[in-house]
Symmetry: C2
Subunit: 427 residues, 2 copies
């Protein structure tokens, strides 16, 4: 049998050395945040704040950080899911980016975590404070802080904190302080605990707590793992690598698929290609896979807070409301009320399609099992949504007979998420 | 700051396309197995049996299997552990091969699993039967069988089966049948269960059970994940990649370090370099890291069985005795009474040094934490031994002031082994 391309990669020395900032290329100006910027201004890393509003198209990745990108396993390969194609009997070509599977902490989150840690250290901060939902961001931030020589404090949504024991220990192994949120450390937390001593928490509440904590300590920076422009900027390394890798085999994606919560992994893979659509008139379609538990892209496009208590400024974004109750799902990383302002604007202008999968998660976990059985790799629950949507697109190609190039992101691995598979698939 | 090399890799198209067979280069003929070969002859894959005794120096990797190697993430990068070097303040250069961290099932075991599955399928087998200790081999085999389109049955040492719930579900997710061993399926198992209904089992017992099972089914092949020559042959892909990668930065290892149980990961990284020592007079030193729970290289060099019941032929190897009781350790993959005949011969001739670490595992887990805190990656308990030995060598270089090149293998990741860290480090 003729040897086919199954994996496409770059050499480490050919890692992209700039991030792509889509803001100047957007079809209209990005609406500015509204409300009190004091808290953000005080706790945010200056370089990140400057990147948040930058009008430069390309932002250099500092050389030391390029080394760190190599250290955390970048560049990461694209795989051609040839076995999956055969199983689906589709004329489409399926390519997936192995973000989570080749990451030290299990997901793409490390890409911005090391960048933020780098800038924080340079500015003289000694501690990074953050929130986490599924736990992937908390782990990434703990790792980044540790290898950069900073302390880390993580407020973790209690509902998830309680059962993800291994991931909790993983953060602690990196030396991080980890609190179940709401916690007794903050005003916001104490108030909610008074109402319910076992309050399950939410990402928005954990953000409020983290910001309160950071505001009380001059040496602490507050960092976020999604939604904001500079976070998506750092994640564009994913799509920039993909573009180079696909170029090497003379391919360009007709469809780019990824799951979406706050938008960091979706933006990471999609923005460089969205830029091509805006600047060069490429016809690529973008599909965001969501959960019906939090279909924020199907919400309202309006100003809303990123956090529960309203400490953060309000952002113009698709939102379900910042105090919205959302049912628990194993793909907890997708369970957030709002979506990145950049992606929201592009969604509003018709550049991004969306699909939301049922709350019982049977369909997406079954898709993950189909993927695993052909390609071998175990995806995170969040990435199962990405896979489900890619498979759906490949099936449509079978119907229509179209030979489309589908690129999807497997943003996290599932080695620490077996509980979800066990429960949903009854293995 | 000047950008340094932190990661060295090959492009997928430059993956080595042959395995290295050291047998013809050994300083004296490898002693032949003794005793009844009937069971082995009946249940083993023919191509593997032929490779077991091959006198060819190089064995072609079939093109289809080269594709599968790409599919499972080969080539895998070497990382320069520059942060760890700085922390240790050593003049040595430390390079580690990220075998486990870039593997779909968490370790190097997949390298031979997919090869054996490929040959088994070609021969018309429909099911693969095996044993597993730590669970890494069982997972790899389950994955390889699934993606190749075969069934898998795994006999898993009960003492480990009981607490590694996530890894058990992982194998089942790949569609494998998984039994705690001793089991009721076999004569060997039933006999031992009569003595003790909660018998903890051992790798040697599980091998006996697996062979019995395979002997009762014409469509089943029995496969092993370590010890045998053909298994080490398939694993030489690790060292062959390393040699190419280090060549690219004009380096050659003075010391090669890895942990050793049956010998598959140690042999995988070391054999190509041991070949250079034998053929070209290179002066590289080889260090095998063991547990005092099973310091088989410090046992006797004599003929012994690979399994508990004596179904397998006897192999000339360093052994603690095939019915030896060995205390449990978290690095369970190292807990085996015997060592590969090839490595045993080389050990006997003075080519391999050995060090054994205490049973409480505090030293090795602490070494893993030091590694994690600087390099970011979470090693498997077995790989913690490799890291401990590499750090010890780097410290000696600090004493002596020697700028040695140390290459070590991180053969497994620890995402599913947090329990060991929790207990040993009391996090």
């Amino acid at each position: 049998m003729k040897k086919d391309v199954r994996q496409i990669n770059l050499l480490p020395e050919n890692l992209p050395n700039r991030w792509y900032n889509i803001i100047p290329d957007l079809p209209e100006p990005l609406p500015a945040p509204k409300g009190d910027m004091t808290a953000m201004g005080k706790t945010m890393i200056k370089e990140c704040l400057s990147q948040e509003f930058s009008r430069e198209n390309w932002i250099e990745i500092p050389e030391e950080l390029q080394e760190t990108y190599q250290q955390i396993g970048r560049p990461r390969p694209i795989f051609r899911a040839a076995n999956l194609e055969r199983f689906l009997d589709t004329p489409a070509e399926l390519y997936y980016k192995a973000e989570g599977l080749f990451s030290p902490t299990g997901s793409h989150k490390i890409n911005t975590a090391v960048a933020q840690a780098y800038y924080a250290k340079r500015q003289g901060f000694e501690r990074l404070v953050t929130e986490t939902g599924a736990g992937q961001w908390g782990t990434a931030l703990s790792c980044a802080a540790r290898i950069t020589g900073l302390e880390a404090t993580v407020y973790w949504v209690r509902a998830v904190y309680k059962w993800k024991e291994a991931r909790r220990d993983f953060m602690k192994l990196y030396g991080a302080e980890v609190f179940a949120s709401p916690s007794k450390n903050t005003e916001t937390g104490r108030k909610l605990l008074k109402e319910d001593s076992e309050h399950p928490g939410s990402l928005a509440i954990a953000i409020s707590e983290g910001m309160e904590d950071a505001l009380s300590d001059d040496k602490a920076a507050y960092v976020l793992g999604s939604v904001l422009n500079h976070v998506l900027l750092h994640q564009t390394i994913i799509g920039l690598e993909c573009r180079k890798q696909l170029e090497a085999i003379d391919r360009y994606p007709d469809i780019v698929v990824s799951c979406i919560g706050g938008g960091s992994n979706f933006g990471g893979i999609a923005l460089p290609f969205l830029g091509d659509v805006l600047k060069e008139g490429k016809k690529t379609r973008f599909v965001a896979a969501q959960t019906e538990a939090a279909p924020n892209l199907q919400g309202e496009y309006r100003y809303d807070n990123a956090d529960y208590s309203g400490i953060t400024p309000r952002l113009k974004m698709y939102t379900l409301g910042h105090q919205k109750d959302m049912p628990p799902v194993y793909g907890d990383g997708l369970r957030y009320h709002g979506c990145s302002p950049i992606l929201s604007l592009l969604r509003n202008k018709g550049y991004i399609d969306t699909v939301a999968y049922p709350i019982d998660e049977k369909y997406v976990f079954e898709a993950a099992r189909i993927f695993l059985s052909r390609e071998g790799f175990l995806p995170a629950p969040e990435s199962a949504y990405s896979i489900a949507a890619a498979i759906d697109e490949a099936k449509e190609c079978k119907e229509s007979g179209e030979t489309k190039i589908i690129l999807f992101n497997v943003s996290g691995h599932g080695f620490m998420d077996m509980e979800g598979y066990r429960q949903v698939l009854q293995i």
